[in-house]
Symmetry: C4
């Protein structure tokens, strides 16, 4: 396994060119958040916006529109059951994050399948939370796209069939090859499996063990792969690294780091890594 390094992150977060506009930094559709789990999609959308994604649209249960906008006026909202609007937006975006707080009802399944039918081969597709379980339960066939899974160990067990205790590098790698997708296996010392290589994160601590941290990572990954699109693997690894790096920084003075606190530190931390490669 290769270790994810600060050098890699610095190479990825380049200084922005001056002749750019919001469309230059990625357009992302985030789909998730039923009436019970709306917080998940609030966190994911916030993470994407604070990570510098140029334009974020959030497709969620309409019950979440107000709380989302009360926290994040920078996002646009649509009803996640409104297929026509989702289809329109799917044609314009560079990537999709689906699954955080989506739920596992027939309606959740229908939304996921609709995205699978309409995603394009050149788009990024981050699959998180409930969407991973829906795929495992219903044996869904993956679409043609740049797919990135973000399971924790139990979700990975359900998706790959590998029990947690047998989740060795070799077994995980074999399962990743079958999926033909990148896998971010969230755990103490998170591992990232790509088609070519396996990476390990050596930072991050137990101050991160709290609800919503995974949703936050999914939003960051979505923003990074659409914004730093010239190197997909590096953009994924950078999001994974910064997520834990910020938590460790905040965790020096906090017993637990809340996801929304982590999110607010993203712009400053990205600047630090970016400025170092002047």
């Amino acid at each position: 396994m290769q270790t994810i390094t600060q050098t890699l992150v610095k190479e990825t977060i380049k200084k922005r060119a001056t002749q750019t506009h919001k469309g230059s930094f990625g357009k992302l559709l985030i789909i998730g958040g039923n009436a019970q789990f709306g917080g998940a999609v609030i966190l994911g959308s916030s993470a994407a916006v604070y990570s510098g994604c140029g334009l974020v649209t959030t497709a969620t249960d309409p019950h979440n529109f107000t709380s989302l906008h009360a926290r994040l006026p920078e996002t646009m909202v649509i009803d996640f059951t409104d297929k026509q609007t989702i289809q329109t937006i799917l044609k314009k975006v560079d990537g999709v994050v689906i699954g955080s707080g989506l739920g596992e009802t027939p309606s959740s399944l229908e939304i996921l399948q609709f995205v699978f039918q309409n995603i394009q081969a050149n788009q990024k597709l981050i699959i998180d939370g409930s969407a991973i379980d829906l795929i495992a339960t219903h044996h869904l066939v993956l679409p043609q796209a740049h797919i990135i899974f973000t399971p924790h160990e139990m979700e990975w067990q359900r998706l790959s069939g590998i029990p947690i205790k047998e989740q060795s590098e070799a077994n995980n790698h074999a399962a990743q090859q079958k999926l033909n997708a990148t896998v971010i296996l969230k755990k103490h010392h998170t591992e990232v499996y790509t088609n070519h290589e396996t990476y390990q994160l050596l930072i991050g601590g137990p101050e991160m063990a709290t609800g919503g941290m995974g949703d936050t990572l999914a939003g960051m990954v979505g923003a990074f792969v659409t914004q730093f699109s010239d190197n997909e693997t590096k953009s994924i690894l950078s999001a994974v690294y910064l997520h834990s790096f910020i938590a460790d920084q905040v965790g020096k003075t906090q017993y637990v780091v809340l996801p929304h606190q982590l999110i607010k530190q993203i712009p400053q931390t990205m600047a630090q890594f970016s400025n170092q490669n002047d």
Copy 2:
């Protein structure tokens, strides 16, 4: 009476082990907040999340979902009259906080009784606010569980039958024995009655005399007893201590300390106490 000391708190808030995940730090269900008193459950849920509880679900009047998520995306929400979902979640959690802003209508009573019927003997059950009054009014039989009451003096009078002026250590202790539950008697110099001992808090001041402080304590106690589960008494005493400790710190420069201000200081203060026992 024994005095609650900083040493006790430091022994309780241990450094977190690295090989952990959000499930390692307690799963808590918080039930309360009717349409009028929604703020109570917002404060209690926030206190629990900021205290490091791994997973918090808030069962409340649906009118409170949006304001709760606007302040705290890290919690999950359910309708507190949805018995089926409450039952499902009750099977998974380590503890329940019930009563803050619950109200005393027939519907409130029904929710409380449903929890009493479904709580398990090994679970923690923190009973606060309206739930205390409902028990007193309707002479409810307590279920088998690790029960912790958080009354202020008037609520304790109603629950125990002891008039405020006669709430001596001996009388309170006798009443606690009959209840066979821990009692946190909130007052100037709060007292904690357990089956084995009586403790007194010597910190905390009148800057705390404002609405919502009790709801905040209930959420902290819920987070502490499920997170630091190897010593229930110490975890209770630590929550009680920190609640007043933070208020006194903030109160050095504020005439009144708002509960939501206290809550935001919890992660830093827990880190201070934790780091001191390196």
Copy 3:
């Protein structure tokens, strides 16, 4: 005219006694905020809570419940057309603030009249904004209570019949005598007319000239007269003074001071004035 001095404020904001609870520091009912002007009652309620009022209930249009709780979980909410609940709460509170954003519809008038019928002679009644205009338009008879009006110059013209240009101390005093109420006439160098004396404020600046500042003052006055109830005039003058004092402090570095920014400084500023009279 007497000048309102810092000394007076320091004498008013006494250190809190230790043997107290939230009921010791005033119970206040704030009534206002129709669907259009909900912000007014959010600001007034926030000002009251941050001023240390022990228990605040906000009666408003239900459309405002969520935004209010999203900003201020420390308040309780009721529908301002729910007469039965208003009546119940009116029996328990020490004071009422009515009028900020109330509107001037028949429904607004009905609410105001209901409060006039149910207020008790020993209660404080702060009359602000729309309520002042309703009284002027409908020639309402004032109830027996400790009444405090908070008009700006145009509202005072409508209430007293004195054109702005003729609002001299003598004319204002005569009108105040007829009303038999305290009048806080908001203007550059605000004046306070009581039954016995006239006071003038020599601080406050144009950084305060923005929507919501008056609603904020009404909430502060409500909190001060119920909390520092041993001297009504001094408590009124202290609220008036601190409102402008804080604005001037914040205004040293801001071109305009938003009411919600002023509100957040209240607890610290009260502590400064309180600590100086050790």
Copy 4:
């Protein structure tokens, strides 16, 4: 082209006179924000209030009322389809900002046309976002008013018919003359075309390339032209300058600057520019 200078901004943001009230600093109606794009009008309204506009009313889809008030209690809200109330308010305001997140449905068009029919020749009318596209699509005739357009390059192409690559100073100036309105052409080095002169902004960077920045500028322009009404061109240029100046300041330590972060810095920055012309 003339460069927009700090000196110009300092001359514009004069110290406020003491004998003033909220009506002295501009009354503004902001119209926009359908259910999907509510964030746009939250940002625009916030920008206007933080820029010192005395009284702001926001006409928007009622679904946005709660999120708006949760962030900004200082604004008043009305339903943007309520023609009667819009008409009443139009008679009182000094200016209107229309278009941010308005959408392009028949209902959006109807609102825009209603404003065009009721605006008065002496009022300022800032036309942003969807409203620009509606004018281009439906070939609307502009009303008599002080009109200011705030297009980005693509919107300008649609409005003027000039392809982005051909948007030279001469071509833009000719199109501006035909429109007989001020045009703020948002781009890297934003340009401002008035009837008499062309101005260029030499500050601002790619940290601003994120959704909501344009809505923020529209709100600032609305506040500046109604507040500093003695010199319309200077007030426009000052808003344009400060918008980018603040972003560049915050951008020194952040990789991306979120619009709501920029907005919170407006009062301090205006004070800096104002104090320098003591």
